[in-house]
Amino acid sequence: MTDALQSRLDQLAPLLVSGSPHAADLGFVLDAVRPGEAVVRAPYRDDLIGDPDTGVMHGGVVTALLDHAAGTAAFAGLGGDKALATLDLRIDYMRPAEPGRAVIAEAHTVKVSGLIAFVSAIAHDGDHNDPVATAHAAFMVSRVSQEAADRVRADIEAGRAGPFTRTPGPGEKGSPR
């Protein structure tokens, strides 16, 4: 089962970041994905700076990075085939990230309970033991997400489309927005 899950995750890996327009736009890179775990990196970029006086990356980038890493870990913890919604995300900002350095988020699923995954994550800029921020999040398999995912799976199986191209759901206008 674990091997089957790992091979499914390996197959999906290229899509777990680049398939999310916002994560791709911020330049996130997936470093690793294993059952229940994910490592996502945000390379330093001038257009992600929060305070021009210090050159420190904006806290919002760290927020988005932790959210994405935690969501990917939850996806990988819930079998790698279910669409999830974030219930909550709590972040503690420990210190500013070092200007010029990539920020790395390491997330692991603490526990899966029914449709809920509880995830813990840290963000650091090189030293795992000196975190920039830590986070806790809860994710849930959501009906609306699952219906969307089921439509896409049906499309893929019928050869109509690949992942991340979608046919409109019931009651939606013809073209994807």
Partner: protein, 137 residues
């Protein structure tokens, strides 16, 4: 706009996100204009939770800067975000309320909504480190 609020708005990341603020008297409403690159999950489709969290953090900081004269940008200590509804591919609005304004730490709540103010899509509460002008530390 205060000089500090201008500094916040001039941050490359805030500019990139396209966030702006509408002033109505002493009320400040944050606007996150919809663009395709805000989408987190194209299957639903829904905006990225991280983008919503970041937008609400920026709104919290702007609320603090609008409420008092600060010598530096507020720094987040911790934030907790509740995601209440899927955030549709459309503009998002947010307003901050300062629960407690301290001389070092302020507690802020932010609500974000889309079509209806009474149906928030997300809520944030958090603590921010503040440095009022003229305070000795």
């Amino acid at each position: 706009m205060s000089a500090r609020l201008a500094l916040l708005m001039n941050s490359p990341y805030v500019r990139r996100l396209g966030v702006r603020f509408d002033h109505h008297g002493d009320e400040l409403t944050g606007v996150l204009p919809y663009v395709d690159t805000l989408v987190g999950n194209p299957l639903i489709p829904a905006l990225h939770g991280g983008a919503i969290g970041a937008f609400m953090e920026i709104t919290a900081a702007a609320g603090l800067l609008a409420a008092s004269d600060l010598a530096a940008l507020p720094k987040p200590i911790d934030v907790s975000v509740d995601y209440l509804r899927p955030v549709r591919p459309a503009d998002v609005y947010a307003r901050a309320a300062i629960t407690r304004q301290g001389s070092r730490v302020s507690n802020v709540r932010v609500e974000a909504w889309q079509e209806r103010r009474a149906s928030p899509v997300a809520a944030l509460h958090g603590h921010f480190l503040v440095k009022p002008v003229g305070e000795q530390r």
